[in-house]
């Protein structure tokens, strides 16, 4: 695998992975109330 392809893979997955991680984190913070009351 070339360095360009590797860089594209990292960028592409980051582009979708970072927002998804943000969404999951925000949801987990919100759902904490379910366990803490």
């Amino acid at each position: 695998m070339s360095a360009t392809t590797r860089a594209r893979l990292v960028f592409s997955w980051a582009l979708v992975g970072i927002p998804l991680a943000y969404g999951v984190y925000e949801t987990l913070v919100k759902t904490a109330s379910l366990f803490t009351g």
Binding site: V16, G23, K30, L34
Partner: protein, 469 residues
């Protein structure tokens, strides 16, 4: 410009990694998944237009109906023209929908919001939803469930991103709006600005997906994959069936019934999630031990279960097979719904656990269905067949809430009921799932008379010519 979008111009060159395809598909699905985050600005629109909640809710209903219709009607076009052109069309419709809706909010014309977000945006939803599915299946013939699970997980995950992002943007555009205060409502102009912002962001991300995706060259297979191994698996065909022929087979309509029943049952819980958990834990004095904030957390947990189920169960189906995994979704769902009706009120942990499993099966049912279609009908026109199958989703979107609301209306108003009031609706869902379970059991391999001629090449580029045998 048009030639850049053509299927022929998107054939992968040497060195292209197939692992670039899932993020390209996710770029589209995460964007259109915003459709499930409309509750963030619902109240603001009600106040701005001085309209009823129902009149505003129609915006979302139109979008979902348009999703089903455009997926069914446009599926063949998507297969013929390839994923890039389809994704560009989806990006244009989805972004244009937001811009037209923003104009409608700014000029105080609700019909423009119906037209923009509902009709134009809804077409973007349908075309966007099916656009990467067929391509993913062709890139991952060894793991179609994993591939489609990754993409369709994005549709569930899109709301997780859009919800906090929209709340934050509304707070920026309207300094008087306080998201922490439940009584605070954003202004119409803040919602219009939000729509413009979301339209532009989603357009950029979806276009990145469109220009990243590639189709495999003719005859390509992943390293170490032997297509002959497919023949050893039950229900997996090496033949190809056109979309026109697929809808003539009993297996298509049995799978349509399976999807209908699975989605109907899941929507039954999703629609009522917040009032339901409060009602289940209401004491004799009418006070619920579950607060509104905790109920909101429960809805968040369900969204996560829905998203995780799409990836986890669909990937598992590559190992255990499509029919067995649907037996689990439907049979396991029947057990969970029964337990929910009978012992769900014993503790919140039991209630949440059962609801999480049910919602994971709901998501899994959505994500596994393209791979099931590929098994039954081959990869030839799987996108078009998937588009036609999604009409079951539109029907379930009406049937699910209708069944639950019909029972609950007879008992009172959700948010002031007790666990017993939900029992008839939940047990009815067990019956709905039983119908789906039997339909799944009845699915058989597609008879040879429906197959495309074996001697003839059926490259994906000619997928629009629906031949009959």
């Amino acid at each position: 410009m048009a030639s850049i979008l053509d299927r022929e111009r998107t054939v992968a060159g040497p060195g292209y990694s197939r692992w670039l395809v899932p993020p390209a598909a996710l770029a589209v699905h995460l964007s259109i998944g915003q459709a499930y985050a409309t509750s963030v600005y619902k109240t603001a629109l009600v106040k701005h237009f001085d309209a009823s909640l129902t009149a505003i809710g129609i915006i979302f209903s139109i979008a979902i109906v348009m999703l089903g219709l455009s997926a069914a009607v446009g599926g063949t076009w998507v297969d013929r023209n390839g994923p890039r052109k389809a994704m560009v069309v989806a990006a244009c419709c989805w972004a244009a929908g937001f811009l037209v809706a923003a104009f409608g909010v700014s000029t105080n014309q609700l019909w423009l919001v119906y037209l923009g977000y509902g009709v134009i945006g809804g077409i973007g939803l349908g075309i966007g939803y099916i656009s990467p599915v067929s391509t993913l299946i062709k890139w991952f013939p060894d793991r179609p469930g994993l591939a489609t699970g990754m993409a369709i997980m994005g549709f569930g995950g899109g709301a997780l991103i859009a919800s906090p992002l929209s709340t934050q943007l509304l707070a920026w555009y309207d300094s008087g709006y306080d998201p922490a205060d439940p009584k605070s409502v954003a202004t119409g102009s803040a919602v219009a600005m939000l729509f413009v912002t979301l339209g532009l962001i989603y357009f950029a991300i979806m276009m990145y997906g469109a220009f990243t995706i590639r189709v495999p060259r003719e005859g390509w297979t992943p390293e170490g994959f032997d297509p002959a191994t497919l023949q050893t698996k039950p229900l997996v065909t090496t033949a190809n069936v056109s979309a026109a022929n697929a809808i003539r087979t009993p297996s298509f309509w049995l799978l349509w019934t399976v999807l209908l029943c699975n989605v109907t049952a899941g929507i039954g819980i999703l629609e009522q999630a917040s009032p339901m958990i409060q009602d289940f834990f209401r004491d004799d004095s009418g006070t619920s031990s579950v607060t509104v904030a905790v109920a909101g957390g429960f809805v968040g947990i369900l969204s996560m279960a829905n998203m995780a189920g799409r990836f986890a169960w669909s990937s598992t189906s590559d190992v255990v097979g499509r029919k067995p995994i649907y037996m689990l979704y439907l049979g396991g769902g029947m057990i969970c719904y029964t337990l929910l009706a009978l012992i769900g009120a014993t503790s919140t942990a039991v209630f949440v656990l059962l609801a999480v499993v049910i919602l994971s099966f709901y998501g899994g049912g959505f994500a596994t269905v393209p791979a099931y279609l590929r098994d039954l009908f081959g990869p030839f026109q799987v996108g078009a067949i998937h588009g036609r199958l999604l009409t079951a989703w539109s029907v379930a979107g009406v049937a699910g809430p209708l069944i639950v609301n019909r029972f609950l209306d007879a008992e009172g108003k959700p948010g002031s009921l007790t666990a017993e009031a939900y029992r008839p609706a939940l047990l009815t869902m067990v019956g709905v799932l039983a119908v789906g379970f039997l339909a799944n059991l009845a699915i058989r391999p597609v008879p040879e008379r429906y197959h495309e001629p074996a001697a003839e090449e059926v490259p994906a580029a000619t997928a629009g010519t629906e031949r009959t045998s």
